[in-house]
């Protein structure tokens, strides 16, 4: 496939995966959905199911308000809305992670309002720096394996897990390659296209996704080099709606790094090769970069972002705050102070799945980007 054709295919799936998922269901595949974050897709896949990350909807909230108050974060509300209203029949079951108060309640509400053949809680540790966290993750991943086996009616052989690791690792490797090209030659692929490609991996069987990525990489090889744009690191959990990336493209900003959950944190960490596959998944989990709701070591939440900014030579940081995400709210005042002290320009955008105040966002970003160009000239 040609570059534009591949990109278009991936973009379509990134924003409406449901026709693709239907086609999979027609072949007898069961679809298992999971909200963010850290459910080991490799395990679900090895059980013979298609793991899908549920990434909410940008369509209006109609039914979710009756179940989840208006001050619940935009991500939780749009996840519930998606499955309650827009795609009630797209999933056979769910593996549901809990990371904060909202996801814990969402899990309870989900069980009561959304009929499914299978529901497994995946209770990830909300701390990472003690031995107990590793023991717990190992136990919980083992429990997930058994639940999936009960649902499918057959054991998950270790070899199936290893094959799944191999496929997902390959998919991630190719995604990192696309990202690397973007970093070195920002003109080769737009910000929007890059993140559409990453997003598409949340929905696709790696066996379908890998060939598309290979085609894309072949087409990108001859990509243009640096474009003189300002270089930005983007920070947060998700960037929603995706039109925000279009604005970045319009403003000639090049994303050179990110700490997003639907971004680098999803593609940077491969499952290592170990005798015990559950141990391998555990090791991968604890290698990951920080995630706001999970208590990390000391100030690693900020240190990681600082390091990323330094390594990529970024001119500044754009932080995407999900409306009513209290975890991010608690992080931000100190984060702003730290960046100010270090002289790293940062702007915080409050975002909501259902709306983008385009002109206002663009004006604010424009002023921010101009100030970065100014710094370049003066600096």
């Amino acid at each position: 496939m040609k570059k534009e054709e591949v990109l278009e295919t991936l973009k379509v799936i990134a924003h409406d995966p449901f026709p693709y998922l239907r086609s999979k269901r027609e072949t007898g595949k069961k679809i298992i959905g999971s909200p963010l974050a850290d459910v080991p897709s490799e395990m679900v896949y090895a059980a013979g199911f298609l793991p899908v990350t549920i990434l909410g909807t940008n369509q209006p909230i109609v039914k979710a308000s009756a179940h989840l108050p208006d001050n619940a974060c935009s991500l939780a509300r749009s996840n519930l809305e998606l499955v309650l209203n827009y795609q009630p029949d797209s999933f056979n079951g769910f593996v549901f992670p809990q990371v904060c108060d909202t996801t814990q309640h969402l899990s309870d509400i989900w069980k009561m309002t959304i009929p499914s053949q299978f529901f497994a809680s995946f209770l990830i540790p909300r701390q990472v720096d003690r031995k107990s966290a590793r023991h717990w993750f190992y136990a919980e991943t083992g429990r997930l394996r058994e639940q999936l086996e009960d649902f499918s009616g057959k054991k998950i052989p270790d070899d199936a897990l290893r094959e799944s690791f191999r496929l997902y690792n390959e998919d991630r490797r190719l995604l990192r390659e696309v990202y690397r090209i973007k970093r070195n030659a920002p003109g080769a692929i737009s910000n929007r296209r890059l993140f559409d490609v990453i997003r598409s991996s949340c929905f696709m069987d790696p066996k379908d996704h890998i060939p598309l990525l290979r085609d894309l990489l072949n087409a990108l090889e001859g990509g243009r080099a640096g474009d003189g744009n300002v270089k930005i690191v983007i920070s947060g959990i998700v960037v929603e709606p995706s039109q925000l990336f279009d604005i970045l493209d319009e403003l000639k900003v090049s994303v050179v790094g990110d700490d997003l959950i639907v971004g680098s944190r999803m593609i940077d960490y491969d499952v290592p090769d170990r005798d015990d596959p559950i141990e391998a998944l555990t090791e991968r989990h604890f290698a990951k970069s920080p995630f706001s709701p999970i208590r990390d070591v000391g100030t690693r939440l900020y240190d990681h972002l600082l390091q990323l900014t330094e390594e990529t030579g970024a001119d500044g940081i754009i932080y995407f705050h999900i409306k009513f995400c209290e975890s991010q709210d608690y992080d931000l005042p100190d984060m702003k102070r730290i960046m100010r002290d270090r002289g790293i320009p940062m702007i915080v955008l409050d975002t909501e799945y259902q709306s983008v105040t385009r002109s206002q966002t663009k004006t604010r970003l424009e002023a921010f980007v101009e100030s970065l160009y100014g710094e370049r000239v003066n600096g």
Binding site: D101, I109, M112, A133, A139, F324, E326
Partner: protein, 414 residues
């Protein structure tokens, strides 16, 4: 125990204990003692067993709220980005640290912080801010949702027990002293006794008329929150139960005259309004008797295996179980206290207790056949309290209950 009880009322004793507790905390550092901040639901027994003073910033925030200082303190940190939809306890606390205003002259800085997320996740983030500010270690005591799956529960208890040992190690590192498990057993035994007596006290609400209302329970809850694990807490609840038995139950005196509606309250109270609510309800012959929140400290400890019992009790509080089980806990109170109405408060401050309130209402109204009032406000921030609107809704609800009982008396409905 054969210790003598002080010659004063339970109320006076509670005041004295509170004063001594905060005085002790204030001078802790001078005396070479350590201060640990901890969450209201947390294995504070570990601190008492290791001679560390647990301080509850939430409790201090309640004092800030009831003295109506929250709006001012909160505004001072809203400018920094701690937005109004965050917990009013956290905003009150962060404001206190900025403006140094407090109804009790403040609380000492922490040497250590413990956040147990069985209660909520918010505290972890709030304490993370404090941990950075004071450069003090934060220990997240992680209690995965206590789901109804036998295998999961066994694993959760194992995980939580392992963390208790990790916590003990952390305390030994902090103080340079060896942890004493015999002392822990003793402290857990005091906690057990205080919890049993506290529960006995709450259960006095089963009498008709009920000698206590939720407002009494909320006031008298403070001692078990911050002094469980001490002999003083045991003495206090003994005195309290005896007093209520002698002065009220035996004489048939209720918390309100002409008790007609015995209500359940869902969520934390609206701290700055609870006297108004009591009076408004009483004028309709209604009284709120209990809530799962007040029962958060009705633990059932077994001191013979202190580490396991702490793990089991703190992992299984109402805010950490699945919604169906939480509804069962509430329905158990409905049955035991013969309740005939419920007010369910959707608390903007407390996502951890509020977010599934609609589902909870559905279960409870279905099982009891009694309508419930759901209204939204904030437990601590008067700027989110619509005085006339909430009053009107409470009145309308009580009139509905009146209408229902009128129809029931005349056999118009079952």
């Amino acid at each position: 125990m054969g210790e003598t009880q002080p010659k004063m009322t339970a109320k006076e004793y509670s005041k004295q204990l509170t004063k001594e507790y905060y005085e002790g905390a204030k001078h802790a550092h001078e005396q070479g003692k350590y201060i640990a901040y901890t969450t209201a639901v947390s294995p504070a027994e570990l601190f008492y067993a290791h001679d560390i003073i647990p301080i509850y910033p939430e409790n201090h925030s309640v004092m800030i709220i009831t003295r109506r200082m929250t709006a001012e303190l909160s505004e001072s940190v809203e400018q920094e980005g701690y937005t109004t939809h965050l917990c009013a306890y956290a905003r009150s606390d962060l404001g206190f640290r900025k403006l140094h205003k407090s109804p009790i002259g403040g609380i000492p800085d922490p040497d250590f912080l413990l956040a147990c997320n069985a209660q909520c996740f918010t505290l972890t983030k709030w304490f993370e801010v404090l941990s950075r500010r004071y450069n003090a270690p934060l220990f997240v005591f992680d209690t995965p949702q206590f789901i109804r799956d036998k295998r999961a529960r066994e694993e959760i208890i194992k995980y939580v027990m392992e963390q208790i040992y990790e916590m003990i190690e952390a305390l030994e590192t902090l103080t340079g002293r060896k942890f004493n498990f015999d002392r822990l057993r003793e402290v857990v035994e005091y906690s057990r006794q205080a919890s049993v007596l506290y529960k006995t006290y709450l259960d006095l609400a089963a009498y008709k008329p009920s000698p206590i209302s939720i407002f009494d329970a909320l006031i008298n809850m403070a001692i078990t929150v911050y002094l469980r694990g001490t002999p003083q807490a045991v003495t206090f609840y003994k005195m309290l139960v005896n007093e209520v038995m002698e002065n009220k139950v035996k004489k048939g005196i209720g918390a309100i005259p002409n008790e007609k509606y015995r209500l359940y309250w869902e969520n934390l109270p609206i701290w700055f309004k609870f006297r108004d609510h009591f009076n408004l309800l009483a004028s309709y012959g209604a009284v709120i008797l209990t809530s799962l929140y007040a029962h958060s400290w009705s633990y059932d400890f077994d001191p013979s295996d202190p580490v396991r019992t702490l793990a089991e009790n703190y992992a299984s509080v109402f805010s950490n179980v699945e919604l169906e089980e939480r509804a069962e806990m509430a329905l158990d109170l409905f049955n035991r206290y013969s309740l005939n109405g419920s007010i369910m408060f959707l608390n903007r401050s407390c996502k951890a207790v509020s977010f599934a309130v609609h589902e909870l209402r559905d279960i409870i109204t279905k099982k009891t056949g009694v309508p419930a009032l759901v209204f939204e406000s904030d437990m601590g921030d008067p700027r989110f309290y619509g005085e006339s609107q909430i009053r009107t809704r409470i009145e309308a609800y009580l009139e509905t209950l009146d209408q229902l009982s009128f129809e029931r008396e005349r056999g118009l409905i079952a």
